[in-house]
Each structure stands twice: as structure tokens, then as C-alpha cells.
């Protein structure tokens, strides 16, 4: 018998697709929902993690597709700075690229070294539920921070230029450390990274954009690292289900379009409310342009 059915895979894929870019922890919900529905799924087993990470690959691909122009600019900037052996002050793309590299390091290292221990300790529905509640407290704190966050000066530097000018490498490390908290199921990656961004003085919009850009490398790397498991013996009996879950997750248009725009417009609690009122679906061009950054 398969450890996870195609129906369960489809439900989990849809759940993750909807919850991934909300700051509500898709991983936490994926751990809690099976228990709530009485499914006989063992969340501590390797196959479940392999299934979840395989579905994350869909998220990474969607994010890469959404931000591909930005990544092209950023990668070119990184190449330029390596060639010139310096990060030029006026090279926004290079600086933003290295800020993203630095901010990815904490979650990358903690994930690589402590993934097994974290899973053993925290991958139970009870602890995920408790951390989901704590995630709410974190979001409340972020909402309080948002009220004090600097307002974007429309006459000043725009988009990425503003982020690159405002963030130091130490700040980026701080945002990355906040993001690492999300390795505990129940804490939201985007919520933690946005809160970190607000803490180091980014505006609401810039914290959200930096958080979304940060998502691609860490989610993509985790998915790529787990791919051998999916293709090996651990993936037996879950490969098809992972494909179904990933496809449904990737197809979800709400998380691909409306959520990022809504999160930019407001902070998490308001963004969720707006989306529930179906207003976030009408992301206007101005916000989308800002989210996607300047085109070169």
C-alpha cells in the first residue's frame, strides 16, 4: 500500500499552493492537516519529507518563472562583481545579489546541518500547531513594526536600488537568520523574512520584495538536494504522488499572482483579509511592476 494516496497528495499540493506565499507556514499546515483529517501518514518518515520537498520544487520553479527577469539581472550583476573583484557602489544588481547570497547562508547552513534533528524534534502535529500559534504572535509583532516602518519616498531611489542602498551585509545576515526560524514547521518563511526586513529598517514594500526574492534560492536548493532521495529508494511509492502534488501546487494562480501583490499592498493580516474578500485578486499594474522590479 502506498504511504500516501493520490487524493491526499492532491489535497496537500493544493494546500501548500495556497498557503506557501501567505505568511502562515505551508509546512506547518502540511504537518497538521493529515492529523486533523485522521490520515494515517507518518510525518517523521523520510518519504513524507521527500514528498514535501518535491512539491516545493514546484514553488521554486513558479518563483523562478515569476522573477526570471530579476534573477537574470542579479546573476549578471554577480558575474560583473566577480570579474571586477569589487561590488561597485552604483551596481544595484551586484549588491542586491550579494545581499541575497549572504541572507541565504544562515537558513542554508542550519538546514544542511540540523535538518534531521529539527525534523525529529518538531515534525509532529502538536508542535507544528504550537508553532503556528507562535507564528501568529510573530506576525502580530510584524504588524506593529509595520506601523513604525519608514514610508517609501517615491521621489527617492526606486525598488531594488532602495533595498541595496538601505541594507548592509550585516542586515542581510539578520534577515537571513530570521528566515532560518522557518525551518521549524509552523513558522512562516515569508513572514519571518519580512519581519526581519522590517526590523532592519526596510519599508513594508521592500521587506516583502526582499523576502520573495530570498525564497527562490533556499526553496530551490532544498528541493534540488532532496531530488536524489525522490529518485532513489525513499521515493518509491511517492514519486507519482509528488508529481500530482507539485503540479497542483504549481498551477495555483492565487499564490502566484494575488498573494505577492496583496502582501506588498499590506502586511500579512490585512493581506489575508483582503484576499479572503477577493480583492487581492485584482493586483493593479503599479504594484505588480514594483513587485517585479525594474526591467532592464
Amino acid at each position: 500500500m502506498d504511504p500516501i494516496s493520490y487524493f491526499q497528495a492532491a489535497v496537500l499540493g493544493l494546500l501548500q499552493g495556497v498557503s506557501e506565499l501567505f505568511p502562515v507556514s505551508s509546512l506547518g499546515h502540511s504537518v497538521v492537516l493529515p492529523r486533523l483529517l485522521g490520515w494515517d501518514i507518518h510525518q517523521n518518515d523520510d518519504y513524507f519529507l521527500t514528498f514535501l520537498v518535491a512539491t516545493h520544487l514546484a514553488t521554486a520553479l513558479v518563483l523562478l518563472g515569476f522573477f526570471w527577469r530579476d534573477w537574470l539581472r542579479i546573476v549578471r550583476g554577480l558575474g560583473r562583481s566577480l570579474r571586477d573583484r569589487e561590488i561597485a557602489r552604483d551596481d544595484t544588481d551586484a549588491r542586491l545579489g550579494w545581499l541575497l547570497v549572504v541572507a541565504t547562508i544562515p537558513a542554508g547552513l542550519v538546514g544542511l546541518i540540523l535538518e534531521h534533528q529539527l525534523r525529529k524534534i518538531f515534525a509532529s502535529p502538536q508542535s507544528a500547531a504550537a508553532f503556528l500559534a507562535l507564528n501568529g504572535v510573530m506576525l502580530y509583532g510584524a504588524e506593529r513594526l509595520r506601523r513604525n516602518a519608514p514610508v517609501v519616498d517615491r521621489a527617492g531611489p526606486q525598488g531594488d536600488e532602495r533595498i541595496a542602498g538601505r541594507l548592509s551585509f550585516r542586515d542581510a545576515l539578520g534577515v537571513g537568520t530570521a528566515q532560518a526560524v522557518a525551518l521549524i514547521p509552523g513558522f512562516s518563511r515569508s513572514g519571518a523574512a519580512m519581519s526581519g526586513g522590517l526590523l532592519v529598517g526596510l519599508s513594508n514594500e521592500d521587506a516583502a520584495r526582499f523576502s520573495f526574492l530570498l525564497a527562490t534560492p533556499i526553496i530551490g536548493a532544498a528541493a534540488v538536494l532532496k531530488l536524489p532521495d525522490l529518485l532513489g529508494s525513499q521515493g518509491d511509492h511517492v514519486r507519482g504522488q509528488a508529481l500530482v502534488g507539485g503540479a497542483l501546487r504549481g498551477r495555483d494562480r492565487v499564490s502566484r499572482r494575488a498573494v505577492p501583490a496583496a502582501l506588498l499592498r499590506d502586511q500579512p493580516p490585512h493581506a489575508v483579509r483582503r484576499l479572503l474578500l477577493r480583492r487581492g485578486d485584482r493586483a493593479d499594474d503599479r504594484l505588480r511592476r514594483h513587485l517585479k522590479g525594474p526591467r532592464s
Partner: protein, 75 residues
């Protein structure tokens, strides 16, 4: 960015040490690792592949840092 040329050699040495550590993690089992290295588990035949990747990433970081410090001085 301020260049600190005196850090080039320490950064390269650190990078080489971390790279050696990464290879050690990939080649040796957890049981064969020296006891002072994180991940040592007596009698274990498990390979800490991910620890090795983490060490290799840190080594790369050290080399990149050293590379940026080598920028020639401008007139």
C-alpha cells in the same frame, strides 16, 4: 568597499581547511571522523553528506571573500 589585503592569506587558508573538512565528511563515515569534529558518532557507518556540502559552501565563501580583497588598487 574597504579592501583588507592582510585578510587574503587567512581567508585562503580557512577556505582550504574547510574544503578539506568537506572532503573528510564525504569520504569518511561518521564513526571514522575524529571525535572533535561535529557529526562524529562512534560506530556509525553513515556519511554526513550535507555537513560536507555546508563546509564546501563556507569554503567557497572564504575563497570569494579573498578574491574580492585582491582587487588592484586604483590610481
Amino acid at each position: 568597499m574597504t579592501k583588507r589585503r592582510e585578510l587574503i592569506i587567512p581567508a585562503v587558508i580557512l577556505g582550504i581547511l574547510l574544503l578539506a573538512l568537506a572532503i573528510l565528511y564525504w569520504v569518511d563515515t561518521a564513526g571514522s571522523l575524529p571525535s572533535f569534529i561535529p557529526g562524529h558518532e562512534a560506530g556509525s557507518s553513515h556519511h554526513h553528506v550535507k555537513h560536507g556540502i555546508a563546509a564546501a559552501i563556507l569554503a567557497l565563501g572564504a575563497f570569494v571573500f579573498a578574491w574580492f580583497q585582491t582587487e588592484p588598487k586604483r590610481q
